[in-house]
Symmetry: C2
């Protein structure tokens, strides 16, 4: 088992070799750790900045054992880590953080909303269905229109469709693959916000200022942080973050997506048990960013400060938008973060820019 | 030859796998580059955050060819790169930056001071000697006491001794190994300052605010930046930086160590054709730090802003001082940068901390 607080020089394992793994690896190295990446694809972005790379499937025992041979502490960059992987690592005396419960809750949209409601955190109304008939019945419960999503997997707007009329429910269910689904009532929101927060080994909490997020076709396009919010709204978000982190006995950074309703209430849309795209602004807007914060939390270190030191507009560079790197590099207020991905497929997250400006005087 | 501006996805080679190479590698990766490290020692700190590592001596043709096979642009983390290495890389159509002239000037203390004086930049009075008799004659020219240093190599106070009386000159010469030396008149300085500056491919200059530096036993202990200086002193330093960069037709970041005399004049003590320990404060005190700036400059990118966004006290962690990592991690104002070195030998640079505080209102 990892000896905590984990000392510099030790190796931290990361499941997943994409951009989140890459930025986690860089933060870990800054603190003196070595990093080992487990990733099925060759030439992964995170592997190219890490001391060790293990190539293999996430549920492949041999790959997990190779990771366990170098890393006594393992974390992940994505929520769809197979439960068997966590179990296999744990059986080899490897500490996995965040915990299996956080993964289980985040992997199933019905579990997620049920958990949130059980700790007193509001979500949209929802109902589960695992058959065409069940989908029709769920529609009767929720009312039309409703958003049908597969319970598991699906991200960036994939695996979901609107059901405009109850009569379509069975057909939409089939079109999503006939898998178990959740039906969600629409949220009459005025803004999409998110809160990035961390919980340490001793229960310490660190909560960043909220970001205001703008999606296009289900993919995050832009975040602005700190979001302009009333103290009451900020307090509401902090209370939600604290409830979720404590309720999951969570260790690490979590991303919580929120809907702000016109009456000022916040609903939780989704939780991501990992560093989060809407937290990329912290790389240039805070002294300790979400990546270092996550490493600190899982390593049993004290958490770092979360106050904003600048206002940031974060813009994702999708697909060939990354070709404008030279333009961004020439903007004095723009910090460029590129992920080293070889192939700029349409819509693929290739990098992001943080456009930095001074905080308003009211925020210092 | 490297096609400039170098596009993200290309590979940058770095001679040297220590902490400067490591921090350069991390900055390069943030901009989407891959990095290849050439380093004779195994398990080098920089290699553990780089896509490629070539193990070999800096002047070993096979190692240089292996580097050239992946990197069309090569830079270095230390000034004692053999001239033959640069020649061998250049012969293979690899672009090396900074250039061979900057290396030659920085590798020989007599060349260095002669160059500086030739472009109108002041240094202490000096004289060269390559025999015991020559050392005696040089003392007659400079006067006692004088500081005798080997012309080449020697860093962090190694390879140098004070000559208190002219009569000792021959013996001190022998004690330094009988190698060619420089004799330097003492500088009656009130402060040690430094300026970190960069020059881009198109001659663009970027100059950081000065740091005030404190050495112990010849090793940098502490830097405070931006140093409290008059506008006239800042202007003098900027003029020196511009003269040196332009005079060397320099590409990349340079570190220039300065003596501030009681009459307000600045003398150049030493130039380092690379990122510099007294520039580590920029990692948390500026939007674009010296490492990213160096990568931008050599890659032919536009240079980034250099204005300070915070006041920083940088403290080197030497030898077992690094064992206090947990204390530093618990200080909210302290940013920790550890180098991943295995062995905390006495005096070895194991990491640094940047203690961040707001800029005074006069500096915004």
């Amino acid at each position: 088992m990892a000896i905590l607080p984990l000392a510099p020089g030790e190796t931290i394992g990361i499941l997943g070799g994409g951009q989140l793994g890459r930025m986690l690896a860089q933060a870990a190295a800054r603190l003196g750790f070595d990093v080992a990446i487990l990733e099925p694809a060759p030439d992964a972005p995170a592997g190219r900045v890490a001391a060790h790379t293990v190539r293999g499937a996430y549920d492949e025992p041999r790959a997990l054992e190779a990771l366990a041979a170098v890393a006594s502490l393992v974390t992940f960059e994505f929520e769809n880590v197979p439960a068997s992987a966590v179990a296999h690592l744990t059986a080899q005396d490897v500490e996995v953080a965040p915990n299996a419960r956080a993964l289980a809750v985040a992997q199933d949209r019905v579990e997620e909303k049920s958990f949130l409601n059980s700790i007193g955190v509001a979500t949209v109304a929802f109902a589960a269905a695992d058959s065409p008939e069940g989908a029709v019945a769920a529609m009767a419960q929720i009312g039309a229109p409703a958003l049908m999503k597969t319970r598991r997997e699906g991200y960036d707007g994939k695996g979901q469709r609107w059901v405009e009329h109850a009569a379509e429910a069975a057909a939409v269910f089939e079109s999503l693959g006939g898998k178990p689904v959740i039906l969600e009532a629409p949220a009459d929101f005025v803004r999409e916000l998110s809160v990035i927060a961390a919980r340490g080994r001793d229960g310490e909490l660190a909560i960043y200022p909220m970001a205001e997020n703008h999606h296009e076709n289900g993919v995050l396009r832009r975040s602005v942080a700190p979001a302009a919010v009333s103290p009451a709204l900020a307090e509401q978000a902090e209370r939600i973050a604290a409830q979720v982190l404590t309720g999951l006995d969570y260790i690490g950074v979590i991303g919580i997506e929120l809907f702000e309703l016109s009456d000022g209430r916040l609903l939780v849309n989704e939780i991501a048990p990992r560093v989060h795209n809407t937290g990329h602004w912290t790389m240039d807007g805070c002294e300790v960013d979400q990546f270092e914060q996550h490493i600190r939390a899982i390593a049993g270190w004290p958490l770092g400060p979360t106050a904003a030191i600048a206002r940031v507009e974060m813009l994702n560079l999708l697909g060939d938008e990354v070709d404008a790197w030279l333009k961004y590099a020439g903007e004095p207020e723009t910090r460029l973060h590129l992920y080293g991905k070889r192939d700029a497929k349409p819509g693929r997250k290739m990098g992001h820019v943080n456009r930095v400006s001074p905080l308003g005087p009211e925020r210092r």
